[in-house]
Amino acid sequence: MATEVDRQSDTRARDLGLSDQDLLDMYRTMVMARLCDEAQFRLNRQGKAPFVVPVSGHEGCQIGTAWPFQKGKDVFVPYYRDMGICLVAGMTPLDVFLAVFGKRDDPSSGGRQMPAHWSSRQLGIVTGSSPIATQIPHAAGIAYAIKYRGEDAVVGSWFGDGATSEGDWHEGLNFAGIHRLPVVWYCENNRYAISVPLSKQMAVKDVAMRAEGYGFEGVVVEGNDVLGCYEASKNAIDKAREGGGPTLIELKTYRFHPHTSDDDDRSYRSREEVEEAKRNDSLIVFANYLRQQGLLDDDAIESTRVEIKAEVDAEVEVAWKAEDPSPESALDHVFADVTPSRADGSSGGDTNVKADAIGTTGGEATPADSPEEAPGEEGSDR
């Protein structure tokens, strides 16, 4: 345990306005993301989860950058890798696993989208799709609406390094720069877009350099340094809130698992490279920091893990047993109203959601109980 003298020497957290409790909460959220990830991969290997998207390796930069946002006011525009962002925004492991199992009460989509296509209007998490970078102009448009309405909110928009090659990425950042919008752009640069390395994605060293082309500041941050991420994010959010316009923050990070449960990363990166990155795991780095600060010791680290794992496991069970969507509910929510051709019920509108559709289980698709019974889906990179 660190002494009081050691603590005095590092005033970083306090200078950032983070209390001891904040630091412990941040750590817990990181551990929760990691353990949800472990659980979803286990379920995938057991044949219970057809497809999962890992977060491991990105926890530090996600929790660090999302933490300074004001819940209930600010707007989160995450991408599929961002379980950590969504946990900070207020999602629970139950929410995560309702989506993993495609359940009716999955808050993101009611079992319509693949897992990791986060959404919750109540939590200020904006719905995303699969096409890469289409959410970038949305983030800019939301920021424009915030400015237009004279609100005091800020938009956070996260994406990968590969996303920065898309036209929508350029168009969204350009629009935000022109109007000096209250949005912070976060590139979780994990050096790969599935298998494609940075050198084939861009000819510049840092994504952050591109900010200059849009007339705002670009910042590079070590993604495993949670407090560094927090600090850069907080500064950018404060600036945006005060009318100072956007910032592009590049977070140098790494993903520990394959791109998704369908990917095999051995074909494009060495085991040594992965092991090297894991030695720099933000969970280890941050735990060491908290040790030095006298906020955690080995026992506390272990008990935190055990406690959160029990919580995650319990919520996995609840999610597993939750209601499936009824098959015919596939027709609901095409439009808000029922239009003439739809009056035959060919597709329901929001004002027409059949009451009996709620609470019924349709398809009786009995999920596999063991890996042997798992549907033998041939993996394709998704």
Binding site: P131, H138, A145, Y148, D168, G172, F175, F335, T339
Partner: protein, 328 residues
């Protein structure tokens, strides 16, 4: 009541809606100082200011994409795509995003955008200023695609589109902009999105059309009436998606003969969907095969007068087929 042409009606309706509701704003290329290349937003910048009348960068995907974001945060954006021919970069934003936001969140989020786009040929616009794009989007559940063709409908449907909680692609045939005039009530009203409209009543055959072709069909029907005493019912589709099958089938059920006219190239066009619907539902009520008129299957409309004319169905061609069908 005031007599107006189509583009003046678009202008005045947008103006009224902007004045009535400050959530409404306009974005697009040259919509500000220039007032739009067709002058649909002339004077808007001066009246409503830069925040509400945005000259966007030349980037169609983000014109729609940013509008989607604005709509998800409480605004009612009306985006203008300068020519429908240039909407394709925004295909993903319309199809993968706007159309699915309600569906993919099981009704949690919604996306009340309007995207206006001048479309259609007959103006020497050649391959890239003449296209009909309605069926690309009409194929996508979750998008409403409307093509009003008279000043009265333009006013009522534009107001309805802006107030609609779902995304609406609002197509304006650019040749009708100054060609077609009509009486427009001065007070606000809505023409609902969805229902088709019988623009001319008749008993002998039904002609189904929209856009510029609607006006050609009305003229051909009048000529046939005068020449041969044939009574042609003309149905204005008005809403491409979701399609009002009831009105179409009701009319064809009554007359027993149908022709569908669209200026798009024929294959997989709107006329194909409408003809298939009629064939499926009314096979035993038909007195003749359904007639489908459209442009030839060439990539797009060419420039030179004779080439353009060859492409576009005109009153003579429609009249001739109408006569044949009446006599069948």
């Amino acid at each position: 009541m005031t007599e107006k042409n189509v583009v003046q009606t678009v202008h005045d309706t947008l103006w009224d809606e902007m004045q009535a509701d400050d959530r409404v704003l306009i974005l697009g290329e040259d919509v500000g100082a220039r007032g739009g290349v067709f002058r649909a937003t002339a004077g808007f910048l001066e009246e409503f200011g830069e925040m509400r009348v945005l000259d966007t960068p030349l980037a169609e995907s983000s014109i729609v994409g940013c509008a989607i974001g604005m709509a998800m945060h409480g605004l009612l954006p009306v985006a203008e795509i300068q020519f429908a021919d240039f909407i394709h970069p925004a295909f993903d934003q319309l199809v993968s995003e706007a159309a699915r936001i309600r569906y993919r969140t099981a009704g949690d989020w919604e996306c009340p955008i309007v995207v206006r786009a001048p479309y259609g040929g007959g103006v020497h616009g050649a391959l890239y200023h003449s296209q009909s794009i309605e069926v690309f989007y009409g194929h996508v559940p979750g998008l409403k695609v409307v093509v009003p063709s008279t000043p009265y409908d333009v006013k009522g449907m534009l107001r309805a589109a802006i107030r609609d909680p779902d995304p609406v692609l609002f197509l304006e045939h650019k040749k009708t902009y100054r060609l077609i005039k009509g009486d427009v009530p001065d007070e606000p009203y809505e023409v609902p999105i969805g229902p088709a409209d019988v623009k001319r009543e008749g008993d002998d055959l039904t002609c189904i059309a929209y856009g510029l072709m609607l006006h050609h069909c009305l003229e051909a029907a009048q000529r046939l009436q005068e020449e041969a005493g044939a009574s042609v019912e003309v149905v204005d589709v008005r809403t491409i998606a979701p399609l009002d099958k009831e009105t179409i089938l009701g009319s064809v059920g009554k007359t027993g003969k149908a022709m569908v006219v669209s200026e798009d190239n024929r294959t997989y066009g709107a006329a194909a969907e409408i003809s298939a619907t009629i064939s499926e539902e009314l096979m035993f009520d038909l007195d003749a095969p359904v007639v489908r008129i459209g442009g030839p299957d060439i990539p797009a409309m060419p420039f030179a007068g004779p080439l353009e004319h060859y492409y576009m169905p005109d009153v003579d061609r429609i009249h001739e087929r109408m006569r044949q069908l009446a006599e069948f």
